[in-house]
Symmetry: C2
Subunit: 302 residues, 2 copies
């Protein structure tokens, strides 16, 4: 049978969504959820996890996010055909330098980092001639933090943006694309700069806005918190997210965020002017434009 003949030439995993061994570095909300999703969907024979705190990695195994704990990043990647960086973006370069030499031949490295320009540039350089790096950003964060909140269906319906470079091997890009699709993501592709521009607008700016909103009410009218309803709660929900992580994300995307903040401040000043001038028609036009756009966004998902 020609089919059988073929499968003896091609390795059982290549071209499929399955991996021999996957390594997860960083057992937090995303790392834990990736591991749980891989094991639930049987996308790898074995999942190895490493965390700076050994205890957290052990917890991840208990939670079903991995089969085994590794004592160090380089031990963790040995023998894996897929390595997923799930740590804060700022420590990814150091990790890559540590494990580089131990990467298996043909291994693919991907990540879940929230900014891409710096990370993709630096990691592609570090891993050059050793492994293909395919930047990825599954947009399934949560204001909940840590492994406790991890769940196998975290990625269901989430957008995942891939940011390959022109020189990235197409085969590696395809395997990473199929991998995130199997985890439930809706895939998009962008250049690292485009990615950072987009997430500045729809993730980093909203976070800063929510934080500024909470802080401005705390400063001016703290008693108002007592009567805050669903509107205020929705608008500020993301501000409950982990402050250290967000500080790192925001500082790694400074230029785009500054542009976005300035645009938002301009819009708020325009509204303030219309209100000061009692310009009902102008104010209405602004609120209408926002309303139509927001309703269109609703349709986009449903």
């Amino acid at each position: 049978m020609p089919k059988k003949h073929k499968s003896s030439v091609v390795s059982p995993e290549s071209g499929s969504a399955r991996f021999r061994q996957v390594t997860i570095l960083g057992p937090g909300l995303l790392g834990g959820s990736v591991g749980m999703a891989i094991r639930k969907r049987k996308l790898a024979r074995r999942v190895v996890i490493w965390g700076r705190r050994l205890e957290a990695a052990r917890e991840a195994v208990k939670k079903g996010a991995a089969d085994a704990v590794a004592g160090s990043p380089d031990e963790a990647v040995a023998g894996s055909d897929l390595v997923i960086l799930c740590t804060p973006v700022e420590i990814m370069p150091d990790l890559a330098r540590q494990f580089r030499a131990r990467l298996a031949r043909g291994a693919i490295v991907t990540d879940v980092g929230s900014t891409k320009y710096e990370v993709v540039k630096v990691l592609s350089q570090i891993l050059e001639r050793k492994a293909a790096f395919v930047g990825a950003h599954p947009m399934a964060g949560s204001e909940k933090d840590g492994l406790k909140a991890a769940r196998a269906n975290l990625f269901d319906g989430a957008v995942c943006i891939l940011t390959p470079l022109p020189q990235t091997a197409m085969k590696a890009v395809d395997r990473v694309r199929v991998f995130w699709e199997r985890l439930g993501c809706r895939l998009r592709t962008a250049t690292p700069s485009e990615h950072d521009e987009w997430v500045a607008s729809i993730s980093h700016l909203p976070h800063l806005t929510a934080a500024a909103l909470v802080n401005s009410v705390a400063r001016g009218t703290p008693r108002a918190f007592d009567v805050a309803g669903n509107g205020f709660r929705d608008t500020t929900r993301v501000a409950a997210g982990p402050a250290e992580m967000w500080t790192g994300i925001i500082l790694s995307n400074r230029e785009e965020i500054r542009r976005n903040l300035q645009r938002l401040i301009d819009e708020l000043e325009t509204l303030n002017r219309h209100i000061t001038n009692h310009a009902a028609a102008d104010l209405l036009a602004c609120l209408r434009a926002a309303r139509e756009q927001r309703i269109a966004l609703k349709r986009l998902k449903g």
Copy 2:
């Protein structure tokens, strides 16, 4: 039996949460929901509804929000011991002038308006020596608009702020308080000015912020909408609310909103400065303060 004797002296409704007849003016989301809740909880023997569009009032009856439709505001209030204004705030004074002469002796008038200073001042004057006016603001708006979205449990757990004046009859205040409690609200009392200060912060400012956020992204990075996840959706949800209604609300609370907008712009500029200066510790302190405050808010409800 002393009990029977008593009930022949005291009217069956006084001191209780029940009314003979309730009039609802304005068959929208709030008016419809109030009617449905009253009928479900049997808080009145009869509910009469009036709307500028006769068709909407008829629809409200079909939906179970009222027993009968009235052809005019003054016809609607005749014989009612409770009148609830559920129209946009800006037309409430005209309505009150129209129905004033037909109010039953001892009738109580309340409303659901989103701002209070102007409305309470003007309506108390118009209704003086005719009926007690007890301003109320059940904070159960929704980005959904109109009668279609009305439901009997809209007020479950919602905060309702009463804004009586020093001269308002305590008995009327108590009846209105008990009424909104029976509808499921958690009651708070404030002066009209305090109310407007609070809602500027936790309702009007978030609305303007959400609208500005949507408009600034539409202006700068419209392609980013395609990858917007739950964070952006939550932060901007309220911007989908009815633009005409919000224009009216915002223009009726200009001074407080301007103060709030300026405070928010100051906070955003502070964040922008920390980001520009790469001041990680300062940025972290801001995000941490917001996070702690937002988490405290979560506890407040649960």
